[in-house]
């Protein structure tokens, strides 16, 4: 799994999932179509017109698949609608020095790569919006335009599943014999 793309940069720290997808859009009962409401309150004026100064509305951001954000991206609510909305919009990787726990797990389950990088790399990326960056999940590297490659940590099983198209629920279902044994072992009156 390789992504080569320009970046969009949102330098603010602590961008929470209520910003990524405001609660009033959570009344949906499907996973699709949330891209239109991604960052709705930052992207649109109260009357619904796009705000020209918001980063995702700028012409140069169109088609960029890598979102570089300030630290602690995705904090707050556990809504999986956040990675659904990002993916639906076309974002395939989120890059930050720190990514909130539940959002990170939800992202991995939706093919959205949560990439945690060191402070200097983050600083450079935040300072260079639109930079052409490559992310290689197999090699676990993020390559800057200079050719310098930075390693990123990623949960090995999630990486394996993403690379091999393995479905985690399918994997869990192969553990049913162990689950049955556990239930028998711990059965209490």
């Amino acid at each position: 799994m390789k992504i080569h793309s320009c970046t969009v940069v949102m330098p603010a720290a602590n961008i929470d999932t209520d910003q990524i997808i405001p609660a009033r859009f959570l009344t949906t009962t499907t996973r699709s179509g949330l891209g239109r409401q991604l960052f709705a309150d930052w992207r649109y004026a109260p009357d619904g017109t796009p705000r020209a100064d918001f980063v995702l509305n700028r012409p140069e951001a169109q088609g960029c698949q890598i979102l570089v954000a300030g630290r602690n991206f995705g904090c707050g609510s556990s809504r999986e609608h956040a990675p659904w909305a990002l993916r639906d919009f076309g974002i395939r990787a989120v890059v930050s020095t720190e990514i909130a726990d539940i959002f990170r797990v939800n992202s991995l389950k939706n093919g959205l790569l949560p990439i945690v990088i060191d402070e200097p790399t983050s600083h450079w990326l935040l300072e260079h919006p639109g930079a052409e960056v490559s992310i290689d999940l197999e090699a676990t590297t993020l390559t800057l335009p200079s050719g310098a490659a930075v390693r990123f940590p990623i949960e090995p099983f999630a990486r394996y599943c993403l690379l091999n198209g393995i479905d985690e629920l399918g994997f869990l279902l192969t553990r049913v014999p162990q689950i049955e044994a556990y239930e028998q072992r711990t059965a209490r009156s």
Binding site: P11, A12, A13, N14, D16, D18, Q19, P22, A23, R24, L26, T27, T28, T29, T30, R31, D41, P46, G70, R71, N72, C75, G76, S77, S78, R79, E80, E98, A100, D101, I102, V105, N106, K109, N110, E155, P156, F157, Y160, E168, L169, F171, L172, L173, R175, V176, Q178, I179, Y182, E183, T186, R188, S189
Partner: protein, 465 residues
């Protein structure tokens, strides 16, 4: 070997231990479900032809999208938001199709999912509890390992009663000293989030320890654990003790007789052993905590109510937050006018929270121009509050007394704060737009919220006690 509470609960639920290549298969004792984060999980189950593995360990309720106006809950009036009504219907249909017990709109046991689990006695020490909701951390107050999950994981638990999980790190927060008069558990946890920051607990499960915590009642412990996620920790835990057992004894779904005795025996073994090691430890001096209030757009942007907003000129996010809030750096918050006061939520919607707000409101009026909403955390909390006359106090003061639900904490059910309005709220998140697009939220305790309602301005509750 000496073990922590977290290690004991974790190890007792490992179906398959983790390896470097694969996460643990972790067994879930109790799966709570609500209407917002479950529909897509049921769709996936249906698509794969799977059934719910343990219906007896699964309980559904509706709280986020549900209205709080009595005529909409019981009177047949339509739910104002059609999409919300659709979501409510879909949960109903899914629970019927998959055979899951639902405490639905008409149920006397319905309420916010994190209020009813404990209330029914389902939340118990040593259990693993999950829900598609980040405030599942609330249940950790009983010595359970309880955390929020996403919708894909809701599907995993429905189908297998298990999750793939890596063992989290442990963070001990040792709290010593007595809380002063007018200072509540909410103020304590806001102070903790302020001290360690909104990412201070990332990757960790917090265990709250020390004399201050032991002295808290269960409602207060739930308030503390509830906001663990606001410090980035998926779960917060408090070791069970006599306070825990006294709360649970005789609850409708707690064990009885010999089963209760056996459960007690197991629970007694849960607290962290002397000499057990945490990955990190932090000390908090409770005697220094004052009534707290947030001034910014995350729960870590918090200050003593008597103080002034800090000045951090070099931080653009800080400036942006203050601009959103319409608040100036360096200025006090006291005496600023308030438009809305909300008492409720899984953080502060339990009976003792309502009593605290009523204590301030008794014989007083909500200030002119202020809209106050009091929303009990569950229908049982509502009934209990009414049986002791709290509803009369709220209504006579001029507040709105509602049916239970998440209400204005999340603003997706018809209860919202208008653009630009200031809301003093006992809920857990002051994120931009959390209570409605453009709404400005200041988080505080029920005592502080009620005091602000009476004065119509940001008020230190100690002035009215």
């Amino acid at each position: 070997m000496a073990k922590t509470l977290l290690e004991k609960v974790w190890e007792a639920h490992e179906v398959v231990p983790e390896t470097p290549e694969t996460p643990a298969v972790l067994y879930v004792d109790l799966h709570l479900i609500h209407e917002v984060t479950s529909p897509q999980a049921f769709t996936e189950l249906a698509r794969r032809g799977l059934s719910v593995r343990r219906r007896d360990r699964t309980l559904a309720t509706m709280d986020h999208s549900t209205p709080t106006r009595t005529e909409q809950v019981f009177g047949g009036a339509p739910i104002a938001v059609e999409a919300a009504a659709q979501q409510v219907r879909e949960l109903d249909a899914n629970c019927t199709a998959f055979g899951i017990e639902l405490l639905g709109l008409p149920s006397r046991e319905r309420g916010i999912v994190h209020v009813i689990g404990p209330e029914l006695g389902l939340t118990q020490p040593g259990k693993t509890i999950v829900c598609g909701d980040s405030h599942t951390s609330t249940h950790g107050a009983f010595g359970a390992l309880a955390f929020g999950i996403g919708t894909t994981e809701v599907g995993h638990v429905l189908a297998t009663q298990c999750l793939l999980q890596r063992r989290p790190r442990s963070l001990a927060i040792n709290v010593a000293g007595a809380l002063a008069a007018g200072v509540t558990a909410k103020d304590l946890v806001l102070a903790i989030v302020g001290q360690i920051g909104v990412a201070g607990g990332t990757g960790c499960v917090i265990e709250y320890r020390g004399g201050t915590i032991r002295a808290l009642d269960m409602d207060e412990r739930m308030t503390v654990c509830n906001m663990s996620i606001e410090a980035g920790a998926r779960a917060g835990m408090i070791a069970p003790d006599e306070t825990t057992y006294a709360y649970l004894r005789e609850r409708p779904r707690a064990a009885r007789g010999r089963d209760w005795e056996r459960a007690l025996e197991r629970w007694h073994a849960l607290p962290t052993d002397a000499g057990a090691r945490f990955d990190r430890e932090i000390d908090v001096d409770a005697t220094r905590v004052e009534p707290m209030i947030t001034y910014g757009t995350n729960p870590g942007m918090v200050m003593p109510i008597s103080g002034s907003v800090p000045e951090r000129t070099a931080d653009p996010a800080f400036a942006r937050a203050l601009a959103y809030m319409g608040i100036e750096a360096g200025a006090p918050l006291r005496e600023r006018p308030v438009n809305v006061v909300f008492v409720g939520s899984c953080t502060n919607g339990r009976l003792s929270d309502l009593r605290a707000a009523a204590h301030v409101l008794r014989g007083r009026k909500v200030a002119q121009g202020v809209r106050m909403l009091v929303v009990p955390g569950s229908q049982q909390v509502k009934a209990a509050a009414e049986s002791e006359g709290l509803d009369r106090i709220f209504i006579e003061a001029g507040a709105d007394w509602r049916e239970s639900g998440c209400s204005m904490c999340i603003g997706m059910n018809g209860d919202t704060v208008a653009r630009g309005e200031y809301s003093v709220s006992t809920s857990n998140r002051n994120f931009e737009g959390r209570q409605g697009a453009g709404a400005r939220t200041l988080l505080a305790s029920p005592l502080t919220a009620a005091a602000c309602a009476v004065r119509g301005r940001i008020t230190d509750p100690r002035e009215l006690l």
